[in-house]
């Protein structure tokens, strides 16, 4: 008797009846789910860029390098964007007093692909006078970020390490540096070791989020604004539901009680209904906080769980409020009076 299934069926019917509220809640859930999904796709796209970047470069321009052996690796180099120009050659490199004849690649344009591949560098562009060295090479020679090596006569700062298979044996510098070094291999090499500079290390996730912020900031702001608006609308709607429509709900539940429904069943169905509302509130709040912070405050990693926590607190606070209010009303007002009042 008084099965929960029957109570829930009646509750579901109430949702069907309240079409406008229902549609609004579904919309809010959709928006709430869209945000984290979008962020997830972005992150997974960035991760794909980071780990498996193998785009062919159709327009490789050979920058002639005179001196040493010239090596053109037109098929193996995989660079982004397409306008990137690349040249390659070999030169003497002096590291800790040791002369090495080393393949060097010069590039201009963005170097994001290599930065993603480097262990320590951020997503900034490689600056003149900076170079990337193979990770294994740096490990063998005891080089660290901020150290300098001499390429020809030019001191170059190590800005990152390259560990991609294709470039594991090459130094990378800017194309303009390569041009300046043209014919510069010299016999007057000297060791120059600068003090190690403190380069902040970023995790892969931080780099991905940063890239997402840089490339999709406008989109993120639009979504954040939409999310904020949705959040406010839903929060307002939810409060309206709890504090205003609650009276009507209590009337209907009183009618059900008057014709034989038990209080426990009614309370459970009421709780289920409020929990459904709360789910939507949670989704919107969590997504809103995550996207907002990612787009505006740059606190993505912390914001999602904090947002979710806030949402859960909100949900339980609202539920407790509704339940206490309902309980107080039903306690203070006998059933006989409740069925007579206007809903």
């Amino acid at each position: 008797m008084n099965s929960l299934r029957f109570h829930l069926k009646l509750t579901a019917r109430r949702w069907q009846y309240c079409r406008k509220t229902n549609l609004l809640i579904l919309l809010m859930i959709a928006i709430g789910l869209a945000f984290p999904l979008y962020a997830l796709l972005q992150i997974s796209f960035c991760a794909q860029q980071a780990g498996y970047y193998t785009v062919k470069v159709p327009d490789i321009q050979d920058v002639k390098y005179e001196g040493g052996s010239t090596i053109l690796q037109d098929q193996d180099l995989s660079l982004q964007p397409e306008t990137t120009r690349v040249g390659s050659g070999s030169m003497y490199v002096q590291v800790n007093g040791e002369d090495l004849f080393f393949p060097v690649v010069g590039m201009d344009g963005q170097y994001e692909d290599f930065f993603y591949l480097s262990v320590s560098a951020g997503t900034k562009e490689l600056q003149p006078g900076q170079c990337l060295v193979p990770h294994t090479f740096a490990w063998e020679k005891g080089l660290a970020l901020g150290d300098s090596i001499l390429i020809g006569q030019q001191p170059m700062e190590i800005a990152g390490f390259v560990d991609h298979t294709f470039h594991a044996d090459q130094l990378m510098i800017r194309l303009e540096d390569m041009a300046r070094l043209k014919g510069a291999q010299s016999s007057t090499l000297e060791t120059l070791v600068k003090e190690k500079a403190a380069v902040p290390r970023m995790t892969m996730l931080q780099r991905q989020i940063q890239s997402m912020q840089n490339t999709n900031r406008l989109q993120m702001l639009i979504f954040a604004a939409l999310g904020g608006a949705g959040l406010l609308i839903f929060a307002a709607n939810y409060l309206l539901f709890v504090y205003s429509h609650g009276k009507r709900l209590l009337k209907v539940m009183s009618i059900q009680q008057a014709v034989g429904a038990r209080r426990r069943g009614l309370a459970l169905s009421f709780f289920a209904e409020q929990a459904f509302n709360g789910l939507a509130v949670c989704a919107v709040l969590a997504a809103g906080c995550a996207v907002w912070s990612a787009a505006c405050f740059r606190l993505p990693a912390a914001a999602a769980p904090v947002g979710f926590l806030l949402a859960v607190v909100w949900l339980y606070a609202a539920l407790a409020t509704a339940l206490v209010r309902g309980a107080l009303l039903s306690k203070r007002t006998p059933l006989a009076q409740r069925v007579k009042t206007d809903g």
Partner: protein, 217 residues
């Protein structure tokens, strides 16, 4: 049979509305309670209908003492033994007519198909033979009250309680409602109604006046 023995009811603001009331209603009676506004007639009906458990004294239903603090028991008795018809109809606005009438049967665990069949039968009995899928909001007051009577009869209770059942209706519709209640009484149902309308009171075979919290026949 309903027995009220030394029943009193007080409210914090209005004070005592029923004073040491004794009342016995036998099966098959048609009883009318009447009196001025605030005399306690609706309070008495609420106690008889087990909507109000805040009274003192003893309540017996078919010889069994009812514990007014046992809410589950009260709910079961309301479901099985008592049918209530309200002045304001009190239909569930988002359920269609069939579902409104079938509501008590749902709480009894009757299957959906049997609920609908029984509800259609009861609606036909009160003169609503079509449009069973309409929502109550589109019906006239008289039709809504007839649906409410059908709902009160759904679980086949012995006692039908009606609080000003014609209070919100015009004369013609009020007459129809009273004819339905009379017919139910003729079939053996106990009908107890509260009214201040002398015409409605005329349908009853026993009339009790309430004044100053006491009963007089």
């Amino acid at each position: 049979m309903i027995e009220l023995i030394h029943v009193s009811r007080s409210f914090p603001i209005t004070g005592t509305v029923l004073k040491d009331v004794n009342l016995t209603v036998n099966d098959g009676e048609f009883l009318s309670l009447w009196g001025p506004s605030g005399s306690g007639k609706s309070s008495l009906l609420s106690i008889i209908g087990l909507l109000d458990g805040g009274f003192t004294g003893e309540y017996r239903l078919d010889g069994q003492k009812v514990n007014p603090k046992d809410e589950n028991k009260l709910a079961d008795l309301r479901l099985r033994s008592l049918g209530f018809v309200f002045q304001t109809f009190n239909l569930v606005p988002y359920s269609d007519l069939l579902d409104n009438v079938a509501l008590p049967l749902g709480y009894l665990g009757v299957s959906a198909a049997r609920r609908r069949a029984r509800a259609a039968e009861l609606l036909a009995a009160v003169g609503i033979t079509e449009g069973h899928r309409r929502l109550p909001g589109v019906l006239s007051g008289g039709e809504q009250q007839r649906v409410a009577i059908a709902r009160a009869l759904a679980a086949d209770p012995q006692v039908i309680l009606a609080d000003e059942p014609t209070g919100n209706l015009d004369a013609a519709n009020g007459q129809k409602i009273m004819e339905i209640l009379s017919a139910l009484n003729a079939r053996g149902k106990t009908v107890i109604l509260v009214t201040h309308d002398p015409t409605v009171r005329g349908y009853a075979r026993r009339v009790i006046r309430i004044g100053d919290g006491t009963l007089s026949e």
